[in-house]
Every structure is written in C-alpha cells, then in structure tokens.
Amino acid sequence: MVTTEHPRQLADSYDVTIVGGGPAGLAAAVGARDQGAERILLVDRDPTPGGILLQCIHSGFGLHTFGEDVTGPEYAHRALEQVVDHDVDVLTDAYVTDASSDLRLKLMSPSTGVATVDTSTVVLAPGARERTRGAIRIPGERPAGVMTAGLAQAMVNLHGRLPGRRAMILGSGDIGLIMARRLTLEGVEVAGVCELLPYPSGIGRNVVQCLEDFDIPLHLSTTVVDIHGRDRLEGVTIAPVDDDRRPVMSRSAHVPCDTLLLSVGLIPDAELAQRLQLRLDPVTGGPVVSSTMETSRPGVFAAGNGVHVNDLADWVSREAQVAGAAAGDLALGRHRPLEDVHVTPGHNVGYVVPHTLSTSRTQTVSFRVKEPIHGDTILRIGDVHRRKVRAVVPAEMITLKVGPKLLDGCAGDTLRVDAIPAGQEEA
C-alpha cells in the first residue's frame, strides 16, 4: 500500500503544480522532478490518486510503460510509487476550482480549507468526462436507470453494487464494451450494444474480448430512439438508421430493460482551460499544445485525456512525462525549444496533437482518422514522412515519432497529416 501524506501546510508557492492525479498527472510529476524541479505539488480530488484507472480493474495496461500487462489499479499503484519515491507533495481529496492568468490556483480540501497557491508553471491533467444523455439528446421519459457507462463501472468496481438486472448499452466506446463484459460476469443480462455508426467506436481487442467471447450482440447502424418508464427504466425503443443516420422507425423494436448505459464518447475536461482562456481545439475540445505540451498561455502545460482522449494509459504517461519535464525546465529558467513547424489535420484525419513541432527535438505526433480504411493505408506528414500501414480505424489513435533529421529544413512550414487508401494518393 502506497501512502501519501498530506502536506499539512501547503507552501505558498511551487515550481510546478499538477492538477489531476491520473496517469497523466503522476507521470508529469515524475517528469518535472527528473528535470530537477524541487517544489512540486500534485493535487487530486479523489482520496487516492490514480484517476480513472482505479475503476478499470481489467488488464490491458502497461505493456509499453512497464513491459507487462497489468490492471488499471496496478498501473496506478506503480505510477504512484514512483511519485512517492520522487518526494512530491501529494494533496488528495482536493479540488482546484480556479486558476488566474498569473498562475495563482485556488483549491479546496478538508485538510487545507479554501487555499491559494502560486506556481511558476502548472500542468493540467484533469482527464475527460463522459458525454451524457442530454448531450446526445435521446427523447423519451426520464426514469432512473439511465446512466453513463463510467458511472456504472464505478458502482460495480469501486462500490460493489449493480446498476440493474437487464441492461442495454448505447454506444460502442471502450467503456461500454468493457462494461458489457463486466456486467455479464456479475450476472446482469446484457441485451446488446447499439452503435449509431456502421463500425464500432471502441478498439478491436475489446469488441472481440468483451462482446464476441460472451455472445453479446452488437447492433451497428442502430440507435435508441425512445426511453420508457415512469419511475425506473422499463425498456427502450431501438431502430436502425439510414445512410444519413436518421432512424428508420418502421423497423424499430422494443427492448425490455431496467438499465441503459451510455458509452457515447469522452470529452476533455476543459473547465480550468476555459478559466485560463486557453486556445482550444474545436475537434478535441482540449487545449491547443506545442510539442512540449505547453498551451497558448506560457507556463501552462496540459496532458492526458484533458488534451485529447487516449485509448492507452501508456500513451498518456509518455505524453505527460514530456509535459512535466518541460514545466520543470521552464520553472528552473531554462529556455523552451523553438516551435517552428505547424501540423494540421489533412485528408481523413480528425485531429492532430500536438499542434506545433520543433525542428530541434524528437517528439511524438498523435492523431485519429475520421473514417476507417480497411485496406493498406498511407500515412503522410507533409512530404517529410510517408509510411504504409495495414488498416486504420477511428477507435485507435495513431502515433508517429518525428525527430530533427526528419524535420530538417521544415522550419516555418505547415505540415498536413493525411491518411489515404494506398493507390489513391494522387486523387
């Protein structure tokens, strides 16, 4: 058991303050310390750091970071151990409610009350929140039993209670897929998973291991069009959708169930980013960042699901380590690398993170495609990098390493990132 002692007395000021103690925040703290920053504070609103990992009790984490397959809580445990070894102040049960442009953070916790701290740099690692029923506007009644898949996951895995007895799942995001399996193992009947798109939005591994292995039907191009039940959910109406994603009501069907889980996407939690008036990427919903994960406000860094939604915690840790290291460097007065190249999404690419690159260092470019390509695919970064891959799907984030050699002579350029079916490059 890793214990984190509350700093009884918060210092008035810190070199680096990290908001959020998920894998992003934990890795950022280590990154900052490794760079030599002395006074580091990590704030997390839960009683134990670890973020969303604590409720992900399945395995599938850590292959890249620790070289072995571990569960979410184990991953969090190891990351937290490193932080504790690195002698970082960890304040839990604490929520950062506001941040001013001169980097004064306002926070509240039972052990400190309402307090402010000044910090030279800050890393925002608040994670993401789930899209809700309101955000996707399902008409119908409003009974108990309609909830996000993540809430159901917390109920089952952290609190030992079931969200219901017979569940329908709307959306084939990873949390929904994982919960389909989890609930089945808990003895809850899972009637099926509906997905509006013609392809699943979770990763392939989860479709196989969580649905197919358990004979749970996946209804593609299908959605929930009505919700029934006065007190508790009694059933939903589902209907296939046409090519314009409009429901075909003549083919609708009633599914009796007492629970509807929504797994319809995550959105970066941009609360503090908005208060700091950071430039946001309209596609990701998270802040625009440089190759060291610095945002449009100098000294403010961001990492993890608070920037863009990652499918692997390992990527989060890697990206956040960079952010923490750069925040540490800046706090110690070292110069930041020159950001002299822009990257933008091009053909069939939804978004690219980071938004600028430096010709002087090696960095990772992450992006997602908009539509799946089932055959050989060419991935291109401007005309400096071209690579053939087998297939691409929106559910799986693509990462490419880009170094100074590759970017030689690109200073001042804007590079487009494209994903094109092989053979169609000219068109």
């Binding site: 309402v114 402010t116 929140r129 309101g134 008409p139 119908g140 039993g145 006065r230 508790r232």
Partner: protein, 506 residues
Amino acid sequence: MGEPHVHDVLILGGGAVGTTLARALSRFDLDVVLLEAEAEVAFGVSKANSGIIHSGLHAPGDTLKGRLEYPGNRGWHQLHEELGFGFAPVGETLVAVEEAELATIESIRQQGVDKGVPGTQPWTPQQALDAEPNLNRDLAGAVWVPTAAVINPYEAVMLVADAAQRNGVRIEVEQPVIAIDPVDAHRPDAPLIVHTPAGPWHGRYVINATGLFADEVAAMAGVPGLTIRPRKGEEYLLDRRVEGLVHSIVFPAPRPTSKGTLVIPTVDGTIMVGPTAHEVDDKWDTSTTEEGAAEVFANARRLVPVLNERDVIAEFAGLRPVAQTGDFVVGPTERPGFINAAGILSPGLTAAPALADHLVDILADQGLALVETTDWDPTAPHPVRFAGRSTDEQRRLAADDPRYARLVCRCELVTEAEVREAISRGARTLDGLKFRTRAGMGRCQGAFCTWSCLTLLAEGLDVPVTAVTKRGGDSWIVCERDDQPEPDATGGDQPELDAAGSSVAW
C-alpha cells in the same frame, strides 16, 4: 373507538399552490396538514416549468389568473427576502421581430399598465440591442418590463414548505389521496374524511390543490363538472458555455401558431429555451420529443439566432393543468368544506402567493376562525450556496466547517455541508437533493456525484444505498449483487489502492 382527531384544514397537494397556502395558514392558530402523493413536495407541475415570476403583463385583467399575476409577483419578492431561495429580478424583453408585431406588444404593454404594472418602457431596436446584443438584428422593436424575475421553482416550493413546517404545519409525503367519504346524510356538516394508504384524515376544510389530478380528487368528493386536460411544455437547458447569451427573459410577441418560445436566463446562470404548448392525453406523459426540440429551437432562433441545439445538456417537459374555462377554478363547491384550487395553469407559479391569500379569504368567508399566533416567524435560515460566495466568505465557511471544503458536485461546486443541510431540511431522494442543491444538474449530469449523493442520503435517512431512489416509488438506483450478503450502507466505500486492485478483480 374514541372520537377521531379533526384537523382544521387538510391541504391536498404540495405544489406551489398547496405549499404557499400552508405557509399563509401557518401564521394562524390552526391545525393544518398537507398531504402530498409524491416522495417530496414540488414533484408535480411546480418542478417542471419555465421558472418565471411573470411581470404582471401577460394574463388579461378580467380573469382570475390575470388579477392574481402581479400581486403574486410581489408576493414572491417578499418570500425571497424571507426565505432566500434562488431568485433573480432579471426583467423581461418583449420582442417584436416583425413590424406587424409592434401593435401586439404595445397592446400587451397597455394591458400591464392597466393592471398597475410599473416601469414598462417601449424600446427602439437599438435600445433592445444595446441591452441584449445577441437578439435578432432585424427586430422591429421591443418592450422592456422590469418587474419580471426568474426563480428556482422547486427550491422555492421546498423552502416555502419548510417554512410552513417550522411554523407548525404538518407535511406528510407519500400520502396519495385515494378516496373521500360521501356526505353523511345525517350530519351534512360533519368533517370530511380523506383516505390515503396510511389511513383516514378528518378535516373541517379540505383544499383541493392536486394540480393535474384535481378533477379526479374533486370527483372523489362528489364534486362533478371539473375536467383537467394536460398541456405539455418541453424545455431545453443549455451548457454553461453559453452563459450570458441573454440577460433578461426574452419573450416573442405571441403568434397565432405558437404561444411563444422564451429564452430564459435561469437563476443559476444557465440558459433555458422553451416551452412548447401541446395538448396530450396522458397526465404522466412528460416525455420530450424530436419535434418539440425542433419547434423550440426554430422559434427561439427567431429571437436569438446563435442558439444551438448542440449546447443542450438536459431537457424535460411539464404538463399544465388546464380546466375547461382556461382560467383558475378556485372557490367553494357544492360539497360543504371542500374548496377547489384547480386548473392552475401558467402563470400559476407566479400567482401562487396571491392565490394563497385569496384562499385564506375564502376560508374565512366559509367560517374558519383566523387568530394570528404570537410566535409566527416569517423567516428561516437562508440556505448557503457555496459556489456563489466570495473567496473570503468561502474561506470562512470552510474554516468553521471543513465539510464546506469537501466537494460533492464538481460541475456546480456543491459541497458536502450543503448536501447534509438539504437532507436535514427534508431531501429524501436524489432528485430532491438535486433540486435543493444543484448537485448533479451540471454538464456531467451526475456522472461524478451520484455515488456521493447516494451514500450521504443513505446515511442521513439511515437506509441502505439500495433503498435510495431517484424520485420515490420504484425509481431505485442501484441493487445488491446476488452473491453478497447485505453490505453496510455507507462504510468502506473509498477504495484503497490495494483493495481495488485485488479484492474485486475477476
């Protein structure tokens, strides 16, 4: 069997009408019981509406609803001072989008002037745009009405009920009235006997304030001729991102095709658009519809073009209880002692405090002796809303009670102290807690705080979490695993890193 206890007044229904009446009667030396069918007061029409305390302009002066509108508006101003629920006197901008509508808005203004509503002002398009820059740039003119306000209707009704209770009124929830005994031919003046599943209640006077069900309850009392038809109104709440889009309640000139979709800055700073107005058959049909959303946004965009359906975070519908006359149906009936307060459609919320005074007069007329008590307290401690306080005040609150520094709802910044206070003042369900504190009302819609709210309710009510409901009845939220003995309701839920990793893994 001894003589049954006879209450002076039984109020049936704990909506805006029933609770303001309970509060009005609480200043007299009377034995009053309010019987509410649902798990909490304000769970009927009074929770699902536009939350507007109307300016006084809108209902014609020759109707009862028109006469009570402006006095009711003043009444809410006073109740707000006394009890401190969410209330903001934001005013109203009545907009003529087309030239042809200018005459309509002027005649509505004149109707208000005739009813004694002060301060109305005709505005040029430029004046309107200066005040509300997001209005349709092509508007023809507007009327400014300073007297309109917005309110948290559920919180207000709940605090009014709390105030009545503090002054001795008994409020009994989960007491649906299922029967009323017929007149005793030998003793026509005998008290009325009202039945709920818990037993009979005897009352000298019975006020029927049961909203949508007032016709059924009247029929139970042998009072025929009342029909209540539900008229649905859908409302759409937008994300905080669009906070400040409008500063006052924006009304269109009513058109023959639609009574008008409003753009409303709620007390909590969010924007709400609605309502629709369509007759439905089912008194429980509070579903929202695809068509309703389309209608609301099409109409609202005529007023404020930048409104976007994509910003919706929550939606709901309410049903207006509409009697045949289209006006309030208030007064004594052929059944001695049985008094209707029915057909309370819009502006019923606004009118409620004035309607309560009107009902007190009717009761006095009917022979109820009204003797003021000496210890009546019109005020009650105002609930603390942490999020609205200055940093210094927040510091002081947290220093005195660390539970003010523990966050329960992060979207709306609701603290544990506020949740506990709401439970101590009557919250028994997740919805009741939400209506009182806003926990779960923000953009994540409870994904983050539901579990904390559940455990705090379970602790406060001393029941297992599985017994806590969303809004009473069968609206349970979680159930036990099959294979496990009943775990304790509250303890041991915070995961320790090790425990979460090993004990629950499958």
